[in-house]
Symmetry: C2
Amino acid sequence: MEQLREMLKGHQLRTTTCREDVLSTFISKKNALSHGDLEGMLGENYDRVTIYRTLKTFLEKGIIHKVLDDEGLRYALCSQNCSEEKHQHDHIHFKCNECGETNCIENLHIPAVKLPEGYMPENFNLLIQGICPKCKS
Amino acid sequence: MEQLREMLKGHQLRTTTCREDVLSTFISKKNALSHGDLEGMLGENYDRVTIYRTLKTFLEKGIIHKVLDDEGLRYALCSQNCSEEKHQHDHIHFKCNECGETNCIENLHIPAVKLPEGYMPENFNLLIQGICPKCKS
DNA sequence: CATCAACATGCAACAGGGTTGCAAAATATT
DNA sequence: AATATTTTGCAACCCTGTTGCATGTTGATG
Ligand SMILES: [Mn+2]
Ligand SMILES: [Mn+2]
Ligand SMILES: [Zn+2]
Ligand SMILES: [Zn+2]
């Protein structure tokens, strides 16, 4: 509980119950969450818009990062110490076609790619879809 | 013109002007297009819903494939001969942060990744963002 | 601990993307 | 030319995400 306050303070954010709840949800669930997921879990306590703004703030401050998959947009905790200035993410995301969960695979980096002449890459985003260990029968 | 009819016929699709126009737009533009893009270009001739359904049909028949980027969903022609049964795409997509265009890089394949135990990969989707050759000053 | 400026929230309202049902129109087949 | 089948347009709808503004909270300060 106190840990959450510290995390928020560390990013120059005021402590509010919505921010604490959203943050602790990300910490307890390990998988990526959409706005809709959070609304489902916290929507009785907070307005939709407040949850959106919380996500937006967390994104700007480097607390969470975007995770893209074929269904849309989700968010997951930044494991490295990201900040307002620098979001660094070159890890892989895995989406399970069975349970629908999307997870960061933190310890696995995206392999280098040799692009044709003239392309200047800045960001890499690799999504792998398949069956996750939990759903492998 | 006649070529379009052949392509549609080859996928067991009736020839309609909307399908011809959408298909020829994909052929002439080289980059990935969103529904909104197509609506902007053809929206005066066809209803929004018709364009949606055309995209959905093309998707199912293996004429186009989905392209994901941080702004949402786009579509691009399948270069290989995809069909209703088999969509095969392991190429890279590049989105330019300057002009906003997203393109298939057909001749470059996604490098192999060694996932942790238990993961069974089925699909790979690599999006690289940066500056494209056209926008490189 | 009371005051206050800065910030966060709820509410209402809106724009956009995407979907469905159904009647009318167009297509391919005979 | 007649017909069965598919496609279209329209209206209506849901979901996601955004904005403006008045009200409520937070944390810093004296
Ligand atoms: Mn991640
Ligand atoms: Mn492609
Ligand atoms: Zn799973
Ligand atoms: Zn460009």
